[in-house]
Amino acid sequence: MIADFQERYAKRHELAKRWKKEGKRIFGYFCGYAPEELIDAAGIIPVRILGSLDKVTLADSHLQSFICAFGRSCLDQGLKGTYNYLDGMVTSKTCDIMRNMPGIWSRNIEIPFVGYIGAPAKRTKAARECLIEEFKVLRSKLEEFIGKSIDDDSINQSIETYNESRKLLKELYEIRGKDNSPLSGSDFYHVVRAGFVTPKKEYNKMLSSLKSELISSKSSKDGKVRFLVSGSTFEDVNILKMIEEVGGSIVADDLCIGSRYFWDLVEPASDPIRSLADRYQMRIACPCKHPSEERMERILEEVKKHRVEGVISIVQKYCDTHLFEYPYMKDVLQKNDIPFLYLETEDRLGEEGQFKTRVQAFIEMLR
């Protein structure tokens, strides 16, 4: 079953091209702060643009080496034509890389529609009002683009579909955290990632059948050290696999390609734009947002709830906001006597087995 999810992701460009032939429109988005429901309500399929493990060649003449591997890889794929099927993109202000990306992308790669959400970083009421306005602007731009209006009903329907997805993912997240769970952390990563490139209705069906399959099966995670994994995006699932191979088990996460993406549901209310703004503003904060206490509190809660024995932080090199928050996180964990390991990646596991040695040593220490 996990193989289905893996295949989905592996074939994502092929599938997208097929949808395209069927006359569908496709939009790309980079990060979990793009209001996908609005895109979906416009009858456009949103797909998340993620890094790739291919060598970056073309982006070198546009981006300095001190830009994160994720940003460089995304642009590189764009320049190579991998995303030529996109009719548009929607990005949201999260980090400084994402803020600059749409301008550079659209200067070099033909793309008919570019939407940018200048999302506030704060969780205040004034910030909410501002985000509502940003969403309204996006809505009317989308309406102009598709040539018809997007009514509240269709937004509400999209909200429902997306909420369904989130609920299922949360259930699977809990299954993963159980003793002897049949669902590993690396499998779960595949599951989440497939959702970025699969129309949500179809994805929900896949999630449901996975759930029923898992409920009736058992496997052994016994004797493994229970970890929470935290961090920015990374493309290489082998990082998680390696942790599992050397005796760790991933039972909870604070990942961008993980719980941060699906944790919070949209509370339906009379005005769907308001509901959406509420959700995207108050969702589990990524380090791009201010303040950062809540993120730490959630990590501590998860640690407790899932009897986590150690936290592994996997941070993308040059990712300012994650790097800035690392000493604070270390402090919070130390104060709470939670062992902690920090790994800095450039999207991938790397060859030398350095990480492996460090994770092994960490596990030894915890046993």
Partner: protein
Amino acid sequence: MSDKKPEKKKRLKTAEKLGKLMADYYTESAMVKAQKKPVAWLSSVAPVEVCYTMDVFPIYPENYGTMCAARKLSAEFCAAAEAKGFSTDLCSYALNNLGSIYLNKGPFMGQGLPEPDLLIATEHACLSMAKWWEELSRHFNVPLYIVDAALPVGEDLSPHHINYFAEQLRELMGFVEEHTGNKFDMDKFKEVLGYSDEASKLFLEIGALRKTVPSPISPIEIFTNMFPIVTLAGKKEAVEFYNELYDEISELAKRKEAAVPNEKYRLLWDLFPIWYNLNLFKYIEEKGGVVVADVYATTFGGRVDISRPFEGLAERYVGNPLLSYGVQQKTELYKQMIKEYHVDGVVFHSNRSCRMASMGQYDVKQGIYEDIGIPGAIFESDFVDPRSYSDEQVKDTLDSFFEILESRG
């Protein structure tokens, strides 16, 4: 590192006055604690007018970062921050500042800055700022107010962008009231805004005098003369100073007196100076190049519509091209500046510390060249942390650039 010391003798008459303004400010900063006056630390592009309205003494760690760099202290400070777990790849303004705090050292009489009672930071220059200031708030255990901006990229500002910022400025006044006991007074606020606007206006006009050929003011002079607009915006002294400076520079412009002899190539500079090596400008000047335009300095001179105080002040801060322009807009802005300032070439300082400002430089350079045929050069360094600076590489890049300029005649 550079071989020569900067010239001691100052060309401008107003230099003395500037020196005095700075000395007064720093003397006062050494005494505020004893006087029990509340001290706020401000990040770059934070609304200093709030402090002058609320009778709070403002301190700019970034300013101080440039001084630490100039006095070659930044390497030690950055290393101290790294020892606490901050990555060496982070902004060296931040690392320098945090390190100097951890070590409790600094360029003034060996001491660090007077400790803050309040912290006011923005996050529209970059996201790192918010994170850095959160750490300050934890370290000093003092309240922090982040002024956030939801800026569009590549599009015009809408009223809700202004309103969000203005709303926070109102909140901020309340925040300062709450933590200092000082009361907000609208008349005082308007007076402060009046001075701020006047200083900004003059500062922008001085910048515009660089359109004269030859340029009547050098880049080092422009950068050093930023102190009042950054630190004293809202004070009468800043207005008086810029009035005098304006008179002096416009007189030089009228007489066509060159700030730099042998002005052959007029250059546009993007973006930060290298603070520990301002002599690089001298090197450029030896080659006949003079930086006559930049967006770094002008960024600090936004106008204020005093009839709508909060919205007006918001516009001063969020209307800043440096902060909300995407590559296409920046390219257009530069093309226009190139025309107005009679620029022959563009020098881009790709600053490893500042991804926000460095990302997109290659595209801007290319865009300018494609559209109007003006060449550019990009060199890489860090603006505060000298540890991996390669003078040779930077000069190589500049040398070949001058060859190109020369071949173009």
